[in-house]
Amino acid sequence: MKTHDSYWRLFSSIYKKDLTLAFRQRSEIINPVLFFIIVITLFPLGVGPEPNLLARMAPGIIWVAALLSTMLGLDKMFRDDYVDGTLEQMMLSPFPTSLTVLAKIAAHWTVTGLPLVLMTPMFALLLNLESEALTATLLTLLIGTPLLSLIGAIGAALTVGLQKGGVLLSLLVLPLYIPVLIFATSAIDAGAMSLDYSGQLAILGALLAGASVLAPFAVSSSLKVSVS
């Protein structure tokens, strides 16, 4: 039973189930995306439509909006499974919980992170971001948003057993997002000035590699604490 195949089958079955559920409750997909759109469109209204100012602020705006909209879906990541007992069943399955968790994180990213990456070119236009900086923004989002899902999952797993875990979740997770934000915006700034930003990307990549290996273990341990 412990073959390569059955691991893959477990991963795909959990991933598919989470996507099916997300598409049945469409608000789950639309909500973070809509939040992202609204925040970004409000900024030019708030600070004025001066193109240079907007271009200067664009990386920060896009990244902060991405960060907050990822936070929106985090609370739901394990909540439903916890409430209906699916989480207990998953822990009793003969498969490692970390693999289950990785599948759920991948599904979360597909639903909340990927749409943001895909929509960014449109917002780059809106915020007068130049094409050099746009490439950098896309690259950082592509590496950075899975990282946000991975880190956020740890917080979500720790707070899933609490009645009102939302505030605690933000307090736990947002400080951990700061390094991602710093390196991502610094890469985009460098890109906007036509400088080399491969260093910042490499650090983000290293963070992603580290998190994708270590976070599933942290999440599965936290879930065990939450379930007991």
Partner: protein, 206 residues
Amino acid sequence: MLKVDSICCVRQDRCLFEDLSFELHQGQIVQLEGQNGAGKTSLLRILAGFVRAESGKVMWQGVDIAKDNLQFACDTLYIGHKTGVNGQLTALENLAFWLETHGLETRQDLLDVLAQLGLVGLEDVPVRLLSAGQQRRVALARLWLNKAKLWMLDEPFTAVDKKGVVLLQQQFKKHLAQGGAIILTSHQDLTEHFPELSRLVLEYRF
């Protein structure tokens, strides 16, 4: 098969039970009884490995369940108060998902199992639209699909009608005859006759 060695459980500074030891053999069924709050569910959760006992050990086939999780996970089936049935998915999707996540073969006769449980025609309705008893039946369909040796069932008869209760007990008998073991909590007495039935009564302690 299952050996419980002087376990003790403390909840909210109240000792639910201490120095509890018993053994469960092949073909044996144990019914846990006791008042509300006596610790039936807590005991089952310790046996399932969700919670560690304050002291003592739970051994499965001679190995501590905290040490060898894999063998234990393959051999047990736990259905708790929270049944692990997702309300947004249909009965068929729920069962297929459960089979896949437990490394069991996806079976073609899922519909037959559902038919046996009286869920014909409801297999593609989201489970949340079914009645409480029908939702419980979807969860209990796992009893027909698993390969586990030990079943741990927390109030399996809740919301299930009389015919369903009889049906379940027939399935219990089949499982016991195949050398399995069952531990369940229930406020109802079992209506069928089980020669190997033993009762474990937990007293409410202050």
